[in-house]
Symmetry: C2
Subunit: 202 residues, 2 copies
C-alpha cells in the first residue's frame, strides 16, 4: 500500500513547521498583496531559504493559493459558521458582526486577503487574481443559496430577492475590508453592521 502522509519517514526531516511557515506567508501576502510581496519578504518572514520554500510549496503562486486555503480554514473564519445560523436574519447578523470583529482585529493585517490580495495586479498575478475573484463570487452564491433556503423555510418572505440580498451583504462585507484598511475600528464597523441590518427583512 502507498503511504499518503505528507511527512515521509525517510530522509532528513524538515527543520521548520509547514503550517506556521504558511501562516507567516499568509500574513505577508495579506499585508503587501501578491505583486507587492517578494520572495525575500517571504523567506525572511518564514525563516527559511528559497530552495526550502520551493521544495515545500512549489513556487510563489502555489504558495499564495495554499495561504488562501489556510486563511479560509482558520478557526477565526466567520463566513461558513454564520451560514449555518437558523434564520436568514441571523445569518446576516452573524456574518456582519463577525466581519466587524475580524477585519479590524489587530492580531493580523486589517481587512481580508481575499479582497485585497490581488485586486488590481500585473499579468503575472492573473491566476491568483482569478482565484480570489472566484472565492468572492462563490461566497456570494453560498449566501444566495442560503437565502433561497430561507424563503422555503419561511423565515424570508416569498417576495424577497435572494440574489440582491446576497449581493447587498457581499458589498457591505467587502466594503468593510476597505474600511478596516482605512483604519476603522471594530466598534465603528459594528455600527455599519447595525445600519446594514436595518435594510434587511426579518
Amino acid at each position: 500500500m502507498s503511504e499518503v502522509s505528507c511527512t515521509p519517514n525517510v530522509g532528513r526531516p524538515r527543520a521548520f513547521d509547514m503550517n506556521t511557515a504558511l501562516e507567516k506567508a499568509l500574513e505577508v501576502f495579506w499585508r503587501k498583496g501578491y505583486d507587492g510581496t517578494s520572495l525575500s519578504d517571504l523567506t525572511e518572514a518564514m525563516g527559511i531559504n528559497k530552495p526550502s520554500l520551493y521544495a515545500a510549496f512549489g513556487n510563489k503562486e502555489q504558495l499564495f493559493l495554499k495561504a488562501i486555503e489556510l486563511y479560509e480554514s482558520r478557526p477565526c473564519s466567520f463566513f461558513l459558521p454564520a451560514l449555518e445560523k437558523p434564520t436568514a436574519y441571523q445569518v446576516a447578523e452573524h456574518m456582519l458582526y463577525g466581519a466587524a470583529l475580524n477585519m479590524a482585529d489587530q492580531a493580523h493585517p486589517q481587512g481580508c486577503v481575499v479582497v485585497q490580495g490581488a485586486l488590481s495586479c500585473s499579468e503575472a498575478a492573473a491566476t491568483v487574481k482569478e482565484a480570489l475573484l472566484n472565492r468572492r463570487v462563490e461566497g456570494e452564491q453560498k449566501l444566495r443559496a442560503r437565502f433561497e433556503q430561507a424563503k422555503l423555510d419561511g423565515d424570508l418572505p416569498a417576495s424577497a430577492d435572494a440574489e440582491t440580498l446576497a449581493r447587498y451583504l457581499g458589498t457591505v462585507l467587502q466594503g468593510m475590508a476597505i474600511q478596516a484598511n482605512n483604519g476603522a475600528t471594530s466598534e465603528q464597523l459594528r455600527q455599519v453592521a447595525e445600519m446594514t441590518l436595518q435594510a434587511f427583512p426579518r
Copy 2:
C-alpha cells in the same frame, strides 16, 4: 514678469499631449495597481519613451499621484456633484446611483482606482498607498460634514448619527468598487444602491 505657462515657447515642442498621456497612465494604474504596473506598461500605453515620461511627470510615483488628481477631476466623477444635492437623502441617492453607473462602466477599468490602486502593496508604494487612504478618509469626512449640515437644515433628524451614516455610505461605495471588479453590472449595483437607501433616514 515670469511666465507660468507649462508649455514654454522656446525649445523643441513636446510631441505628445500630456493630458491624454496621463489618461492612458491612469487607465493602466487603475487596471494593474501601482505595484503591478511597470514603466514598460506605462510607456507602451502612453506611446512615449521613458526619458519623456520622466521629463514630463517626474517619476512613477509622481505620475501616479498626478493620474489620481486627474481621476478625481474628471467630468464623469460623481462624488463632489452628489454632495451638492439639496437634502441628505438626495446626496446619498445620487452618490449611490452615480457609483452604480460609473464603477461598472465598460468605458474604463471597473471599480475605483482610489480603492484598488494600492490597497495591499510593497514598501515602495507606501506613499501612494497613504495618499489613496487619505482620499478615502477625506471623502467620508466630506460626507459626514454634509450630513451634519443636513441636521442643521432639518432634512436629517437631530438624532441621526452623521458619522455612522457617512461610514455606512462609504462602506457600500467602496464595496461597490469590489463588486464591479467581481463583474457586477450597473443594474446589479443599482439594486444594491436601492437596498442601501432603505436603511437611510429620509
